[in-house]
Subunit: 420 residues, 2 copies
């Protein structure tokens, strides 16, 4: 029996996430070194703190701890996240906030509440695939905007906007990851951030600002002031800000938050009620207690150093093994190094060779909504150990040398990439 006739149009167009596919592959083969998913390093987690908190909270048997919770989130956690936001110069009341089941749910909520089929969402070239597919699954039309070395190209932004409007389309929002962008690791310039708020008000287009990595700047290449969120200067209410505890505390707790104009958060709350009722209440309680006990604040400098060191190991290894072949900009924070292959090698052609060598990454085309990006590979240095990074780069170098020596097995595609 087939079920095609039962599927919604949305479902018929849905595609597997290439990052998740790589994650499955990595889980199946323990001999493989993974530069693919942007997973935090498990030795960065505050295991003992969660153990003590879980023990305390479960021993106390407070009736709410294992119960359903409010859709908005556990109130003390919302207040703690309000203070975290305030430390990033984002001044919002809890009426402008909601806890989400990971920032992925935040992206889905944005799509659900704002996008009708055919509406345009502007995204960076390249952009985070999880956002691309959250928007596409609502049958939105995604239009790419080029990036310069300091982030989104404002001239190309206007071009994309006017072109879409000329075609009679409604442009609902621009999606940006200003801090250590996924996948490029790029940092959006401060001047451009302010320009984007003005642009939003002038053009009456919302901005969806996704900021999972802002706290993870590397002090040899960036300062905290470089990461000031766009939302910090949003006096009129054009910016929907998403952030997460997945990269700084742990992803298993699926706890993130949105800060946005109150009427939009109210809509998102109603949407979330029918999506999962509430984010895990025990998880929220653990994270609230961890933040209250100072875990988030105390661990931040260590986390920055932890990922900076991994970045350095990867860059040194790449310079040693592939310095003549790959090009990249040094990551100034976050989880990713975005490298470019010499023409005509395509990263999708390199991938099977790399898998045979025992290393994986995400091929660049997954991040481009215009079918481009074939030369790029996203290398996440966040999860592997220093030794694994060195060994993974050795394997990658062997694969690259093999692929560079071969004729390209297929031409670069200019079609939108069906599998994300």
């Amino acid at each position: 029996m087939t079920y095609e006739a039962f599927l919604s149009r949305a479902a018929a167009g849905m595609r597997q996430s290439p990052i998740r596919q790589m994650g499955i592959l990595a889980a199946q083969r323990t001999d493989i070194i993974s530069f693919a998913p942007g997973y935090p390093g498990p030795d960065s987690f505050a295991w003992d703190a969660y153990r003590a908190i879980a023990d305390r909270v479960l021993a106390a048997r407070h009736r709410d701890v294992l119960q359903y919770g409010p859709t908005r989130g556990y109130a003390p956690l919302l207040e703690a996240l309000q203070a975290v936001s305030a430390a990033r110069s984002i001044d919002v009341g809890t009426d402008q906030m909601m806890v989400t089941t990971g920032s992925q749910q935040g992206l889905d909520l944005v799509a659900r509440t704002l996008l009708d089929p055919g509406d345009v969402a502007l995204v960076e070239l390249p952009s985070y695939t999880g956002a691309i597919w959250a928007f596409r699954n609502h049958q939105a039309t995604l239009v790419g905007v080029r990036q310069a070395a300091d982030g989104i190209d404002l001239v190309d932004l206007d071009r994309a906007l006017y072109q879409a409007r000329l075609e009679g389309r409604r442009v609902k929002f621009l999606y940006v990851v200003p801090n250590f962008q996924n996948p490029t690791g790029m940092l959006l310039g401060l001047g451009k951030r302010r320009a984007l708020v003005e642009w939003a008000a002038r053009e009456r287009v919302l901005i969806v600002e996704d900021d999972p990595y802002g706290a993870l700047f590397f002090d040899d290449a960036a300062h905290e002031r470089d990461t000031r969120p766009i939302k910090a200067d949003d006096d009129e209410g054009w910016v929907i800000y998403l952030s997460s505890l997945s990269k700084t505390l742990a992803p298993a707790f699926r706890t993130a938050w949105v800060a946005a104009p109150a009427p939009l958060v109210a809509r998102m709350e109603v949407a979330k009620q029918a999506m999962d009722l509430c984010t895990g209440n025990f998880d929220q309680r653990l994270l609230f207690e961890a933040i209250r006990d100072g875990v988030l604040e105390r661990s931040a400098p260590d986390l920055r150093e932890y990922y900076r060191a991994k970045r350095t190991v990867m860059e040194q290894a790449l310079r040693g093994e592939l310095g003549d072949t790959l090009t990249w900009s040094p990551p100034r924070g976050g989880f990713f190094l975005w490298a470019s292959l010499p023409p005509p090698v395509q990263s999708v052609d390199l991938l099977p060779v790399a898998i045979a060598q025992g290393v994986i990454f995400v091929a660049g085309h997954a991040f481009f909504v215009d079918g481009g990006g074939g030369a790029f590979l996203r290398l996440a240095f966040s999860l592997p150990t220093h030794d694994q990074i060195r060994e993974g780069v050795r394997r990658l170098a062997a694969a690259v040398k093999e692929a560079v020596g071969q004729p390209a097995s297929r031409q670069p595609s200019r079609e939108p990439v069906p599998e994300g």
Copy 2:
């Protein structure tokens, strides 16, 4: 600034859940006794087991425990849930299963993958509001089917189906809660269950079977064999089965599962990737270990007795205080007692009087997609203690006597109820 122009059509039509609204009210007023949300009793939770497991799991620092997990779910938990399903005579491989972030996400996934705007979902009159709004939020058209004392009326089912088809609509599925239905507490007859599978194959309409309460039968009024899922006799693949650990272990862990034809589960997995990536991995690990340690199996008889006793206390109190005024069928399992007021009293008019008396419930109209049900109230006996149930019924009786003595403040509405 207003945001109406930015909202999707779906968002513009979304409405607050009346159950969640009551939950918020109950949380704000500690003096109120709540018969509103279907929350499990927190003294039924295996606090010590979770405490021991959390301690063990966090001490072991297995790298996967606090990490992102596979979208399908934690593999050992999937296997444990396969065994739980098999004990209910549902024989499925793990390729036909997925963990969901609560059954509410299962309902949302069903809606996303199957419903285009205007498609018809058939639902019982009355039906679970969380399902109604999951389907409505995808702009589906909901068509109600009457129920008899042994569940859905098969003649009315055909009438509703043919009527919708005459109007040129696609009928994608029938949604049913066969075991101790939310809100009526009704048990669907075994003959009707088999008839529904035949109906689905004959009419080529899927069945979405939602079974959170099946394990909670009361041994003075029902047997395990009365709860045999429709899915158990689904040889051809017409049934999507949803169940949950929220009512039997604890809701805070947001862990439920779907068992459905493999091609549909594969679609749901892709949809879930863009919704929340994965269900909480720590939660899944805790529940897997709890099931493996025998917590679910050992606690089942105690849970049945725990809720049966609360049911008995509520019925005794209602007979004593309101036996001449309210009518109801004795609940044979689950969390709910579904009571009917004498005409012309409407439960929406009773509600403010009850709140003034310090007791809340959910007014019946929220569960009816045809605007009916004004005479009913859903009384959840699952959360309050025995004393709270007795006191709550006394308060309810005072409110009912006040409301019955008053003229109705408004006429029963026959319009679809906008707020669910």
